[in-house]
Symmetry: none
Subunit: 196 residues, 4 copies
């Protein structure tokens, strides 16, 4: 029973996620979402008590998804350089296969402060993802591959760079496919973060 409810919740989140990413938070209405899930408006409120709460659950869901992917990389026995590359690959892959996720992250979560202010203070709602990046970084430092520096400076570089690229792709400004930038970007980032 409890499972069934969870499945329905995820269906709603997936539909809402796509619509939010596509049209923006305010331009997506609850009836829009309900229609997309093929469910009545009233019933939606049995699963999520408000539009804001739905938005917050979605960002947690995305953070969990990405966190898991990176954890898998962190657990592999490979060089920091290789890890760096694989994280970038996973990020771009997600941007390619599930563009709504990265879009939601960049355009909804990062920009719609009013909505996430309460209940997502700090980076609570995005915790799983940030933690894994932190682990990647700390292990890189520990084994001497990465230069010791403020984590957030490194994080800003990493995530800002990747986010920036996906953004440009989304605007149809990039001449090439994201994959084709992986070499350049890996090189740039590793060069910036590495110890030597």
């Amino acid at each position: 029973m409890i499972d069934k409810k969870q499945i329905k919740k995820e269906q709603i989140m997936q539909c809402a996620l796509e619509l939010f990413a596509l049209k923006g938070f305010y331009s997506t209405t609850i009836p829009d979402i309900a229609a997309s899930v093929k469910m009545s408006v009233g019933n939606m409120y049995n699963y999520f008590k408000s539009k804001d709460i739905l938005a917050k659950e979605i960002i947690k869901y995305i953070s969990g998804y990405l966190g898991k992917k990176i954890r898998e990389i962190n657990e592999q026995d490979i060089s920091t350089k290789e890890k760096t590359r694989r994280i970038i690959e996973i990020y771009f892959q997600t941007a390619s296969l599930k563009p709504e996720m990265i879009d939601y992250f960049l355009r909804i979560y990062l920009s719609t402060r009013e909505v996430f202010r309460e209940g997502c203070e700090g980076m609570i709602c995005v915790n799983e993802f940030v933690t894994e990046i932190m682990i990647y970084f700390e292990e890189g430092v520990k084994c001497g591959d990465l230069r010791e520096q403020d984590f957030f400076s490194a994080f800003g570089l990493f995530m800002g760079y990747l986010g920036g690229m996906v953004f440009l792709k989304g605007e149809n400004i990039l001449p090439k496919d994201l994959d084709e930038y992986v070499d350049d970007i890996s090189h740039n980032i590793y060069k910036a973060l590495s110890a030597d």
Copy 2:
């Protein structure tokens, strides 16, 4: 006479800019803006025909402001390394002194697609700023300081990184002041972009 109208327009833009950056585009109402300018709602429409148009004028205004600042750097006779540093300084300085500008850029312009789709295709509305970054980059390449690579990859790195840092600052996640990251970031970026 025409000057007086221009001055009023800029007053409105400044007030709207602050409110949009603070509360978001949709959570800021025209009455909010009117109250902030101490002007009647109706009269606002004598200056900007719609909320959307106001939003677009603001981003052009910001782009012009930042473009001018970077042009001043580009025109100086200093090394690419030094230019890189100064651009970062200017960006962070702006984020510090006029935080609403960078915020607007990151949170409103980049995220509220529905609004900027028509009339800001490609990067038209942000043209002045992008052009100066392009000049910085091309001159760096020409004089052998920067590695020749896809401009947008470099642009994504530069702007994504800086944007990411300002973002983290805005979320009160950064332990230190933005200025204190200038060394690290300059180093990281220049290392990533430089020819050797």
Copy 3:
């Protein structure tokens, strides 16, 4: 269920019809109509997507009503002279019992072009009514009672005349009741249209 919705739509149309006819299209507000139906403003929009659409549905509704009445006359086995008289009677009767209908026709539909331009091109929205008048006229010609002439000249005479009388009545200019003019008018029209 679908019936219930249809009934409510007709209730709204009837209330709106009365208000429009009484106060004019622009001087009747949606809140006015909602109050008259004892319904919330928002809910009105679950039945009619806009004020304009409501206005168009109303004219179709009236055209259907009058068309049906005239069809019943057309189907009767009586002389053209008698048909003429009965059409006039029906028209005046309607003007008497449901004055809002004729008023709406004359004062809203015929005059508020901006509203009916799109969606009511030609005489689409008033089709059922015009068709029946056309049948009356063609059958009269076929059986030799009416003189063959341009249909629209005949239509202009017939409808203009009747409309003009109702208008004068509405302005409280006519000294007598509309019924009392039936003889005169029947005579005038039939004399004008008849073959001899």
Copy 4:
């Protein structure tokens, strides 16, 4: 001096007349009219104290214009039959050369009751025109050409018929030019009104 003011008033009335006839009373704004007269909004109010008053002055102006035309016919020494024809000709001519006048009469004056209720009770504002039609009719009766009947029944026939035709023309429904209907219509009307 007083003349100059009168000339300006007529210029405004002519411009307003055209706009009202074209776009309707409510869809024509004071700024629209001001722009059309090439005059400031504020100054317009030096000539007409309100939009409503302007509308009322216009209908009086039209009534005067048409009244004068018909008076000229009434004063001629011709048969009632010929007078009937000439009135129709004048009406159609006006509809052709100054379509805004007839349009204003039919679509604004007759339909926008809210506006004309106060100050145009009965037919005050249209007095000059109606009086001349009355004279035409009474003289026709006096000399035995027209059947004695209720004046308003005759008036409704005459004006309703002509108005209906112009209406149909305005809707682009009439296959032929208005002039070409003069014979038919003269015949129909005279037949309906005449004594034999």
